[in-house]
């Protein structure tokens, strides 16, 4: 694949992300797309650790570490401060995990996008509270093992559809992206950067440690999430215009599930049920995009 003008590296080696960490790959792509004129707001998440213990930083842009629930509010403040200084060029991005987005930071996020603050809110989604020890979040998918959904008590609730929740705010731009599709991801970040108002990016970021997968498989599994329609790539403009970016050949979801330790307990009947849920969601998305199944 040819990705030009992305040679500038704004992330350093020596960070303490786990081997094969999808969240660091996501960060690299996003920073390459945004460039140096970026301020990052970092509520509590894996990246609070990966960005380095004081006085180190693994990022070559200004980063504000902030409280778990304040990703939307802090970004609003930073944006206001930059505007006061007359700096409308610098991009403000909140970089939060799924816990800080789906659960703990949802109120501040909803408030910020309701005000249509001019910033990007990027959620790198590894589907549980990974850096505190793999506790389930409202992003954890149906069927998954976590340290709080163990044994027979695996999560039997659906993953929250965060993009639809943001779309309901009628923000200018909301999109999904995936680390296995860098061209698509980088295009979306650049597009978001160029739009004024609130932008939301939901980035799939695999987690070898929490998902019980080999580190070298994290891209392969991320790709399969798209290929199986578990994580479709699409974007929504102004809350109404849907575009599906990738029409997969529709591999069976069991191919995705059987590679991951967190789903090992699932039986064929469970997988059939999950397949139906995925098909249903995909049908719904097609309808919203005005396409036929």
């Amino acid at each position: 694949m040819q990705l030009d003008a992305l040679d500038k590296e704004l992330m350093c080696s020596g960070h303490v992300g786990c081997p094969g960490c999808g969240a660091t790959i996501a960060m690299r792509f996003v920073l390459k797309a945004l460039g140096e004129k970026t301020v990052m707001v970092l509520p509590a998440c894996c990246w609070s650790v990966i960005a380095g213990p004081f006085p180190q930083s693994s990022l070559k842009i200004p980063v504000i570490h902030t409280a778990f629930e304040t990703g939307g509010a802090t970004a609003s403040g930073v944006r206001a401060a930059l505007d006061m200084k007359g700096d409308t060029e610098t991009t403000v991005i909140t970089w939060a995990g799924d816990g800080g987005t789906f659960d703990i930071g949802f109120q501040a996020l909803s408030g910020a996008v309701e005000r249509n603050e001019d910033f990007i809110y990027a959620c790198y989604d590894n589907e549980a509270y990974m850096n505190t020890g793999i506790q389930r979040s409202s992003s954890t998918p149906y069927g998954a093992w976590t340290t709080t959904t163990t044994g027979a008590d695996w999560k039997k609730l659906r993953k929250k559809n965060i993009v639809e929740a943001l779309v309901a705010h009628r923000i200018p731009y909301a999109a999904t992206a995936n680390i296995a599709f860098p061209e698509d991801l980088i295009r979306k970040v650049k597009k978001a950067k160029a739009i004024r108002g609130s932008k939301f990016l939901h980035i799939y970021a695999s987690c070898p440690t929490g998902w019980r997968i080999p580190s070298e498989m994290s891209i392969k599994i991320a790709r399969m999430a798209v290929q199986t329609n578990i994580f479709p790539l699409y974007e929504v403009e102004n809350g109404v215009n849907y575009t599906i970016n990738y029409k997969p050949k529709e591999y069976l979801v069991r191919e995705y599930f059987k590679l991951q330790g967190r789903f090992r307990h699932l039986k064929d009947t469970d997988l059939d049920q999950i397949q139906e849920m995925v098909n249903e969601d995909w049908g719904l998305l097609l309808r919203k995009a005005g396409e036929h199944a």
Partner: protein
């Protein structure tokens, strides 16, 4: 303003001052990725050992000259082989397990045609002159290849050709619809431009051979098989019976023989097919009579299919018993055969089925059942008779290699036999392989003696062999390639889409049967680039940058031109993503060495 913000004094915001680069996370690693190019299955199947994966990569990049030169390092005749080679490479292509194989021969021909059209001059490495001269007898594919490679290795090579034009079997034994004369002449001209001398119309007799031995440092015999093998049946020397090779030769010399009516062609090899298809083009009808079955025919399957398409009739399991003249016609008596078990070569063993012979009436008979060496002194010394009664020979000689035989009588001039004289499979590409092996063997002989030849050559195998690489012999970059042959499972097919193979345009059947025009037509540069783009480039890096892109630890360092990648082991945690996401298996993950 300052006073209003009196709070400011009390605000303490800690700021980072250093990067994380002081953490050498390489200490976490227990698996170690590395760049390691491997061997593609097509290149091992190619008798000439062409670096096909790299050639296709260069075509994809539009670097047609470099791709063509990459062929020339291993094969001096891409224009010929792109047309007449039976392309075993395509039968071994990993892409077959995905959709269909790459049209490697079409690409090879495209490169040769493009170079010919642009009159491109190749820039190839040549070792410093050795000050030794080699006489080469015969300018067929083996002789041309031997001369080409010996020239590359710094020898003066001089070819002696009995005919007034060079090319041997390529010129006189292959019809124009498969190999136009201009293509061959172009290839030979390039070989001459590289410094090979060709002396035409110089027949080498047994006595001349002795002279050559004294005036050259070595002699290569590649005079081919030109004597038709007799059928040993009554009537075969009668009128109306001709040998197939002579017929093809007449055609290439411009003759238009009268072949009205029906001609029987006895044999199942490529010559038999060539004769039959030529008869069709001259307006006659042709029946191939073969004593075994179609699947046992040594002729290339594509040639058989084309012959049948053009109206050649094939009669299997019929052995000729007698040919008798009847007026201007020939009565061919044939014994019906049956298959009984298997021969040692895997083909069906045949025997007369006990029925009485059948007779067919034809206007003439062509015999194309194989050929043999024209003179007994063309034959290499047999393996057993190492001449224990004569003076002790140079140890290790005669040396019988897979594609040639090296001999030296009593410290005399080394003689090397090649091409059809030594090859088990007698075809153009194997002849080129022979010329190459002979050049390497002779050079090693002069450098370090006969005893070192086998070992030196075994270090130049493409994969597990038997194909040899001159680039490896000359210590080129290909030497770094591991011999491991990449399998389909080792390709990350997520990075490839199904795409149909190029369909090479061909003449219509009606056009084919009415002229000797070349059947396969040219393809455009765009088509070639698209087809080459289908290639997995098994085992070699095409600078796709996946390793760089997906590294979570920013450990892939690239040189100034964004190629020449290195892994920064100070920080690499050994996650293995780069290796798995390499589409082409140009990387390997190994265990970290214990300290």
């Amino acid at each position: 303003m300052e006073a209003e913000l009196g709070l400011k004094k009390n605000l303490y915001m800690p700021r980072t001052s250093v990067t994380t680069e002081s953490n050498k996370t390489g200490s976490w690693r227990f698996l170690r990725p590395r760049y390691e190019e491997k061997t593609s299955p097509c290149s091992t199947a190619c008798p000439a050992g062409e670096d096909i994966a790299r050639i296709e990569m260069l075509i994809t990049q539009g670097a047609f000259k470099e791709a063509w030169e990459t062929i020339l390092r291993e094969n001096p005749l891409p224009g010929v082989c792109g047309r007449v080679c039976y392309h075993p490479c395509e039968g071994n292509c990993n892409r077959r397990e995905f959709d269909t194989s790459i049209a490697v021969h079409t690409m090879e021909r495209f490169l040769a045609d493009t170079a010919a059209r642009n009159e491109t001059k190749p820039v190839l490495e040549r070792l410093p002159p050795k000050g030794k001269g080699v006489a080469i007898i015969g300018s067929g594919p083996a002789g041309l290849a031997a001369a080409w490679f010996l020239n590359m290795l710094g020898y003066d090579s001089e070819i002696f050709e009995a005919m007034p034009e060079a090319g041997g079997l390529l010129r006189w034994g292959i019809p124009a619809y498969r190999l136009p004369a201009a293509v061959l002449s172009n290839e030979i001209a390039r070989i001459e431009n590289q410094g090979v001398r060709i002396r035409l119309s110089e027949t080498v007799s047994a006595s001349r051979f002795e002279e050559l031995k004294t005036s050259y440092d070595a002699v290569f015999l590649g005079c081919g098989y030109w004597r038709n093998i007799a059928l040993n049946i009554p009537g075969e020397s009668g009128s109306g019976v001709e040998d197939g090779l002579s017929f093809l030769k007449q055609l290439r010399q411009g003759a238009k023989p009268d072949v009205r009516g029906v001609s029987a062609v006895i044999g199942g090899g490529n010559t038999a097919i060539d004769v039959a298809r030529s008869i069709i083009r001259l307006g006659g009808r042709a029946v191939i009579v073969y004593r075994r079955r179609r699947e046992d025919m040594p002729a290339f399957d594509e040639e058989i299919i084309s012959a049948l398409e053009e109206g050649v009739e094939l009669r299997e399991l019929l052995a000729p018993v007698q040919i008798a003249a009847q007026g201007s016609d020939c009565i061919l008596t044939l014994q019906q055969m049956k298959v009984e078990g298997r021969d040692r070569d895997g083909r069906g063993r045949i025997a007369a089925d006990g029925t009485s012979p059948v007779e067919i009436s034809v206007q003439r008979v062509f015999v194309a059942t194989g050929a043999a060496a024209a003179e007994t002194w063309h034959e290499p010394p047999p393996a057993e008779t190492a001449g224990h009664h004569t003076a002790p020979l140079t140890p290790h000689l005669p040396l019988h290699l897979s594609h040639c035989t090296l001999h030296q009588e009593q410290q005399g001039t080394p003689i090397i036999y090649g091409g059809d004289l030594t090859n088990t499979s007698k075809n153009v590409t194997q002849a080129i392989a022979s010329g190459k092996q002979a050049a390497m063997a002779l050079d090693t002989f002069f450098q370090s003696g006969a005893g070192t030849i086998r070992e030196r050559l075994s270090g130049c195998l493409v994969g597990e062999g038997p194909s040899l690489s001159m680039e490896i012999y000359m210590h080129g970059p290909r030497k770094e390639r591991k011999t491991h042959i990449v399998s389909h499972q080792e390709i990350n097919t997520d990075y490839f889409q199904f795409e149909p193979r190029v369909i090479q345009p061909r003449l219509l059947i009606e056009e084919r049967t009415s002229s000797f025009d070349e059947i396969e037509l040219k393809i455009s540069a765009n088509t070639a680039m698209r087809e080459a783009g289908r290639c997995f480039n098994c085992g070699i890096c095409n600078d796709c940058d996946n390793c760089y892109l997906f590294c979570p630890d920013v450990c892939i360092l690239r040189g100034r031109d964004m190629t020449e990648r290195h892994i920064d082991y100070d920080y690499c945690k050994g996650c293995g993503l780069c290796v798995v996401e390499c589409p082409r298996n140009a990387m390997t993950l190994g265990e970290e060495e214990k300290l």
